[in-house]
């Protein structure tokens, strides 16, 4: 008996030893440790999550693209080599780039472009509004978007929108160009290949999908040699994006050389690897912002002076320096920095005395009681606790109602909250994406159910700002357009039921030999095809 146990122990030890070779990842394979549980689909017509957008950005091309080496330059010609705009300001003609092929070998043609847009509009998945806001509907899209010549596509919008608005929207995932022939080969019951594309790829991007294991990993593969991609050199032959939900495990994988990039490290992980010469940290500003939504149905929160007072009762600097360190920076306007027209103004600081004066002017000198719906995840819950503490200094007693994300959201969308603490991320890289939600509310009645608009969710009735928001997307003069967004942001700062607080920064940790990673800034997603090792 004893001998058997001893033999088994030795055998186990030897086997373990030989299996655990400490290996650097191979030079032609990029291994990314990320949390990708949010991916629910791989179909570009449906992808709307952060991790899904990273995937689409590396597998599909769009008519207009961003240059990963110069995001500030704004949208650049992509699969559309050039465009012209008719005098009516509504009809665009795009010349499709020649010589580009899909991973299947099929050439990218005007037919594919039309198919992709018709498909996205008709499938009516969540991000389809990015296209349908230009007047395309399932019924009319085939008349509005047409093949106009061998390599030309025309699109007719319902209004003369600012060209920057339309072309910015064409960089979104939902506007990805899909291989028509391949998608139709897998079509079931007229679904445009949707069921198949949820778990397969049909693009012309730098990589094709080699394997997809939900909540485990996706693997991308370069379809040809490194010079085969029309946008530039692709050094990596394979990219493995592994789902590693625990940040501490990501850190270990990175330090042991089993991952080249760790994308979801926490501040304490970042602090722990500081000073390690084998890895470095790169910071990227993102578009997500944290804010408080104050329901105007509440008798206290609807008082203008109370709104102003509450903006003085948040410890912006304190939170930035402590619990949000390296994750968020102070930002008090609704357009993320780097967006067209973003206002870089932070007029409010924690000022309890000023807040008390304002509360007295509002007729509630002793404060009041309200609830705050709070997701029980970090850093939301910690932020909520800090806000609860500072608001209490002026007599505003906040009861934190903890809940799961979907729970609090369901309540928020039904306008049943007092205060909601949450995040908002832009849907496409144009200022209208946030203006449309923060400063537009066409119908404030409950029955209107404009659940997508934050102004509606907080019952903020603003016919004047709604008009200004609509006018801003039709403004062709870029300078004037910027001024209009400045005005909208100033209005929200002054009287909006939103306490805007922070903008996200993302810290990626990389092995020292990894260069060329760009995670897309606030306007787009990660580029893995530019990485070299």
């Amino acid at each position: 008996m004893r001998r058997i146990i001893a033999a088994a122990a030795i055998a186990a030890f030897t086997l373990t030893q030989s299996g655990a070779l400490r290996a650097e990842t191979p030079p032609n394979i990029l291994v990314v440790a990320d949390a990708i549980d949010d991916i629910v689909t791989l179909d570009p017509a449906e992808v709307f999550e952060f991790s899904g957008s990273d995937y689409v950005n590396n597998v599909y091309d769009t008519l207009f693209v961003f240059d990963p080496n110069d995001l500030d330059a704004g949208f650049q010609p992509g699969l559309a080599e050039s465009y012209s705009l008719a005098e009516d300001g509504k009809t665009y003609a795009f010349k499709i780039r020649e010589g580009v092929t899909f991973h299947s070998g099929n050439p990218v043609t005007a037919e594919d472009v039309v198919f992709s847009f018709v498909r996205a509009v008709k499938l009516k998945k969540t991000p389809s509004f990015i296209l349908t806001q230009f007047g395309f509907t399932a019924e009319n899209v085939e008349d509005k978007i047409k093949v106009a010549g061998a390599n030309e596509v025309t699109m007719e919008l319902d209004q003369a929108y600012a060209p920057s608005f339309f072309l910015n929207c064409l960089t979104a995932s939902v506007a990805s160009i899909v291989d028509k022939k391949l998608a139709l080969e897998h079509e079931q019951d007229g679904d445009f290949g949707y069921e198949w594309l949820k778990t397969n790829s049909a693009g012309s991007g730098a990589f094709k999908l080699a394997a997809w294991k939900p909540s485990e990993a996706y693997i991308l593969e370069r379809p040809g040699d490194e010079d085969g991609y029309w946008r530039g050199k692709v050094a990596m032959q394979r990219v493995v994006v592994r789902n590693v939900p625990e940040p501490a495990s990501q850190r270990l994988l990175l330090l042991n050389g089993d991952a080249d990039i760790a994308r979801k490290l926490q501040p304490d992980d970042i602090a722990a690897i500081a000073g390690n010469s084998e890895v470095r940290v790169e910071t990227d500003l993102k578009g997500r912002i944290y804010y408080l939504g104050l329901n105007q149905k509440n008798e206290f929160l609807s008082k203008p002076k109370v709104l102003e007072a509450m903006k003085y009762l948040v410890d912006y600097k304190g939170m930035e320096a402590t619990l949000l360190k390296g994750q968020y920076v102070q930002h008090q306007t609704f357009l993320p920095l780097t967006f067209l027209g973003a206002l870089d103004k932070n007029p409010y600081t924690l000022d309890v005395a000023r807040a008390k004066e304002l509360l007295a002017e509002a007729g509630v000198p002793d404060g009041f009681k309200v609830t705050m719906d709070t997701r029980t995840v970090s850093p939301v819950i910690e932020m909520a606790q800090s806000i609860q503490a500072t608001m209490a200094q002026a007599g505003i007693e906040i009861e934190i109602l903890p809940g799961d994300g979907k729970q609090t959201l369901t309540k928020y969308r039904a306008r049943q909250h007092d205060i909601y603490i949450g995040a908002w991320g832009p849907d496409y890289p144009d200022p209208h994406t946030n203006a449309d939600t923060f400063t537009s509310n066409a119908d404030n009645r409950d029955e209107a159910k404009l659940t997508g608009k934050l102004a509606w969710r907080n019952s903020w009735d603003i016919p004047d700002l709604t008009k200004l928001t609509e006018a801003a997307v039709l403004e062709n003069d870029a300078g004037k357009r910027v001024e209009m967004y400045h005005e909208l942001q100033a209005q929200v700062l002054e009287r909006g039921p939103f306490v805007l607080m922070f903008q996200q920064i993302l810290q990626n940790a990389l092995r020292e030999n990894v260069t060329g990673l760009n995670t897309g800034g606030p306007i787009t997603a990660a580029y893995y095809w530019t990485v070299t090792k």
Binding site: I5, A8, A12, L15, T16, S18, G19, A20, R22, A23, T25, P26, I29, V31, D37, V40, T41, L42, F48, E49, K124, K125, T126, P127, S128, F129, K198, T199, A211, K213, P214, S215, E216, A217, I219, V240, R242, N243, V244, P245, E246, A248, S249, L252, L253, L255, N256, D258, D404, G405, K406, Q407, L409, T410, K411, R413, D427, K449, T451, G452
Partner: protein, 353 residues
Amino acid sequence: MSILGPVGLGGRRVELFRRRLCGVAKLLGTLLLTFLGLLLVTFLIGRVVPVDPVLAAVGDRASAEVYEQAKRELGLDRPLYEQFAVYVWDVLRGDLGKSVLTARPVAEDIGRFFPATLELATLATIIGVLLGVPAGVVAAVNRGRWPDQVIRVVGLVGYSMPIFWLGLMGLLLFYGTLGWVAGPGRVDIFYEGMVPSITGMLLIDSALAGDWAVWRSAFSHIILPAGTLGYFSLAYISRMTRSFMLEQLGQEYVTTARVKGLSEWRVVWRHALGNIMVPLITVIALSYAQLLEGSVLTETVFAWPGLGRYITSSLLSADMNAVLGGTLVVGAVFIGLNLLSDLLYRVLDPRAR
């Protein structure tokens, strides 16, 4: 007699067969009812939680039109009883529906996540039994002396430490510092997809394919999470073994055996241990079943694509098809293990035959 005999015997055989058939039918009926009840309760819980499954599917930004379309597609616009009837009918035809989260058939998902959990839980239980039972026996025999104290402290640590902390510390030491084992995940990325998936359990699949490099990599990946979970079940099993053994060692037959001059080894490992087999099997089966439900925290730390995380994340997103599918599997595991331990009782305990 001579005429009646064979007829009587035949009649008795028929009677016996009829009774057995009745027994099997009863068992099947009970199983069916259990499953149906399990499904109904899970289904109702899923419908009363204040989470909107449509919202989970389409996200926060969806327009009213998209929302309504998804609601229809998910069948959530129909009355509750109709939804349940449709679901049960589909399950009976072997269709567990599609998961909202992974966009794949639930049966396919479970076929991928369950083997990962099964492999992990089995290895963990083997570790727990191989170490826990002898430890419990040794502790009981040396009651109050140092081996007992050491084993009890070791057990207490395993039982009371948060398992994710143990896992992380294990990773830090054995993977991060010593480099003895591989890190989070099931297999090194170079070996990903190199052996055909037959059982879904990498150790078995790679052995069947004769690919020992993959086997070693998979073993190196599984040993730490299995060891962590195994430590947990070791703690439980050794404690229970110790108390069962103490009870037996105080019995008269043990004294008799000693008086008869049997060696102490024989008395302890044969007679006393033999007599605690029945309750011990219940303990082991329960601990195994618990591990088979999947351990969310361990799976998270070790990036292990197991059933626990699948069911938990589905539950949090109100992905009811996935939750119901997972519940069915867990239910089947419990029922299966119960049946198995019943069978083992009969083998081990003559009184139960």
